[in-house]
Symmetry: C3
Subunit: 402 residues, 3 copies
């Protein structure tokens, strides 16, 4: 078919020894060069599809995508738990590596990014698509539990429009997806786990979606990081441990976080940094318990149980109709003897916290803690009077849960 | 493979000059004729897949699909903003047209529909699938901002069952998708923007889904229009400007609109016409601000700020747990000096509006306005007493937000 | 392409008469044997893709999958309503069978499972993918409305990780999907209807998703059955009639059921068995009316109208922001003259039921019924005082809807 390429049959001009198996990065860059040569007219540059059949592929050379409409497509996300593997034996295991269309990021060329999308010329790159393959960072060295190796799966480095990352697998990368300046990006139906950070929307961005994914970062990073975004929809995701925070908003406004399932071993499950206004956090399920994997109990995100499962910093946010579950052995609560915080309003005016339920806690807790820099908070039906900690301010309205 | 066709290699019997590039419509019609010839037995008509590789394809002849199980599949939604292009220069642009598997609708045969699905014989057409290609209406003439060109991307014209429209791109069509009599249709993960109207479910319909899409209509039409539907699930969508209304219910009942992100420049974001009963509007984020693209500020949907961001017409609807943001410069509020309406109950009995937050407004507003034809409305925790406008009726119950 | 197979071109060694048409099961098993022979090294077993082009395929032999990363992929879910067909005439029908990539399960080998995934060796099977084909159980015999034929579409029989079932069609199977011990399974965007039971997660499981599906079981079984699960996200689904129950939780905890559309002809739409704790049921739409297909009116799930549309058994569950619609002719209410129950708390402590609306009922109803074994239930804004039935206990807190 025209404009359709198979990495396994492509030969790189002048480099007969290079194959998809030896360096899929060099192969894809060579195909992109061919696409550009074949499509000289700006009025007709439909891009192309590059297929990655099931197989193991080394990526020694960073892929650089500076054209729109390129689709890179494989045959499955190929996830398996390397975390479990590295912390256990593999004696007799049938498979010891991820699979499907598996790209092993080797960083041989010194570049940490496996796939770099960006250009300086106009217009913004549009509709680049990554579909159904596996980007495997292979290992964290020397400590497999460090989540550090300087590798990034996909980086969009310049402003971009309507790109898609769908059905992909990411694992053992310090950064799974980093998208700078994203407009209407679509990150859906991926499996992004065992990465330092999973999804990072940086710089600024608009009108995007992170939906229907399985996501779980390491203790050092973010499951979803949202910087300077205006209007991001985060819904239908299963966000599992760990993640320093699971959704981290930094100067992000008018975003919606609804109908997600959150589970973590640390406080700060949704965290806010800077000024974050008019965000909606609705109909989510939050479960916080103790790390249950012995070897990982040495690690955490450095936040104590006074921090809050949700930390609010900003104005006019709406936290409603969420369920919270807290179950940490008394001996593991930090600081010792502390009464855990579920929702904490650290700064900001006119935040509303209504109709939430702490559905279980093994110890007495504060459903809401109001810090001194919070003003005009309204708390309705989100805890009994005794479950609201207002020792630092009297600038609030309360209707306790009867 | 059997029953798999590539539009670029098909030759139309008797028309050697016709190719997918010159008229993909004629090519697909010819393939469909072949499929029908190859599958004479009603007990074994599995249909076929028609592939559209990445490329530019003119559609001069309307495609007519009167068989079930046909899948037409491309290599990406190929969206780029033509609105931005037509209102700016393109000097030095790398690409000036949409891409991927791009079907240019030329309406050369005088038919406005690019793809027409329907038949008069039984049973209803089932499981036709449109996947991952771009339908581009090319231009609105003579005014690129008119959203008028008489072109429709996909029209289902007779009752249909379990069809799928997924991963598609639609742009610069007067109508993106029009589905008459849809049962269990699945419209998911599409990018439907810069069309007059995007999704129109007409006539009647049942048990369908519009989920996980990026959608944004022009000021003349509807992002999602729902006529006579019984049970439609609209969830997980990012519905961005503009759209005369973003969800327009006309005699539609038992629908659910939840966990969506809505942003528009006009009132009437969710609008109801006729009698609409037992609908749920929950956990959505609504943002209304002024048109920020200078060239488009001349246009709007003709509704003033008294109309309401949500307009209720019907009985027993439930509006709950939504966040509303309103920020329009005083000089642009219509009528001048008006106090904007967030939720308006125009007609109908027993509507409930509970636990909503207006998270920001730059001017004093009414959270709820009750018109004289509204009765027995219940308003709980959705605004202070001063934010409820009940001058036209005293037939309501109020528990103001404390 | 390497590791890519087409069932229509494969020949089974030693069995020249076997084709995909005659027995796709034998063909796929033979391909799997080849994959295993080709991938002897546990460090590089990427699996493979097996394509099923559009066509009719008999499955006489059960497929056994004991490797990770296998993707089986077709060209569409191919659904048509066999229920309608078997209960009507087909005179003049253009198609009388399901289509696309249609696998007919014939159970010739005596095995009820069409696709069996499992193995006893380590590690757990991971990332097996079923995509976009149709598994058709063909008939229920002798009674086409019995939903009984001993056939199962896909069974995962041993603990598994990160598997995907997406875009599939299932019909006329006694069991659509049965997954034992699922971790992070992804069941999304399927059409699973006219099966005895549709999705059954058995044994135990973790951190999984059932999202964005069309689902509808028979009166004998479950649309979604969840046993022993810890953390399941059920969101964005359209779950239509019938189903003995539509979500059945059995000793399942920390699950979230949000933003779904539920429609059924029987009580017990969400049912709980055993102890089910800390589950969230939020922002869903529930519609219960009378069976409207005459031939099916003889069948039901045996539950009467006192059972509740939602039955709670367990502690600390949160039912909030849901809309309920009830419309059953007086003559069909069971027991005769009963006042129907919307939400029933049968057992358990500290359940909260807040901010729900019964948006319509044609007869007087109880919004909440508290049985004698329920304790400390909190009911806020979910019905007037007269709509709460507390004759069996006074161990509750009530703030009636004003």
């Amino acid at each position: 078919m025209p404009n359709v390429y198979d990495v396994t049959t492509w030969t790189v001009p002048g480099q007969p020894g290079v194959t998809a198996t030896s360096d899929i990065g060099a192969v894809i860059n060579s195909i992109i060069a061919q696409i550009k040569a074949d499509q000289p007219n700006p009025a007709s540059r439909p891009g192309a599809t590059i297929y990655i059949p099931p197989g193991d592929y080394s990526l020694k050379t960073r892929v650089t995508i500076d054209i729109s409409y390129l689709q890179i497509k494989g045959a499955g996300h190929g996830f398996m738990s390397l975390s479990y593997r590295y912390n256990s034996g593999t004696s007799g295991w049938a498979e010891i590596n991820p699979g499907a269309s598996r790209v092993r990021v080797e960083k041989t060329d010194g570049n940490g990014d496996a796939f770099l999308v960006g250009r300086s010329s106009a217009p913004r790159i549009a509709s680049v698509e990554f579909r159904d393959f596996c980007i495997d960072g292979v290992n964290f060295t020397p400590n497999q539990n460090s989540y550090l190796n300087g590798k990034t799966g996909i980086r969009l480095s310049t402003a971009n429009d309507s790109c898609r990352i769908e059905g992909m697998g990411f694992l053992y990368l310090e950064h799974g997806i980093v998208a700078y300046g994203a407009d209407a990006i679509n990150i859906t139906n991926n499996f992004i786990a065992e990465c330092g950070s999973c999804v990072e929307l940086t710089g600024y961005g608009f009108a995007s979606k992170v939906t229907n994914n399985h996501v779980g970062a390491g203790y050092v990073g973010f499951s979803v990081f949202v910087e300077g975004h205006e209007g991001l929809l985060i819904t239908g995701n299963n966000i599992f441990p760990r993640g320093r925070s699971m959704v981290h908003l930094k100067n992000a406004s008018r975003c919606s976080i609804s109908s997600n399932l959150f589970h973590n071993f640390y406080p700060g499950m949704i965290d806010m940094e800077g000024g974050n206004n008019n965000n909606l956090i609705a109909s989510n399920h939050f479960r916080r318990n103790r790390e249950n994997f012995g070897v990982m109990q040495a690690y955490n995100n450095g936040k104590d149980d006074l921090y809050g499962l949700i930390m609010i910093r900003g104005d006019d946010n709406f936290v409603t109709s969420n369920l919270f579950y807290y179950d940490v052995p008394t001996a593991n609560i930090q600081p010792s003897g502390a009464r855990p915080t579920i929702i904490r309003v650290n700064t900001g005016a006119r935040n509303q916290i209504t109709n939430n339920m702490v559905s279980y806690s093994n110890v007495p807790f504060f459903a809401v803690v109001l810090d001194g820099a919070s003003t005009q908070t309204k708390i309705l039906d989100s805890g009994t009077a005794a479950q609201i900690d207002n020792q630092f301010t009297n600038n609030f309205t309360l209707r306790p849960t009867p």
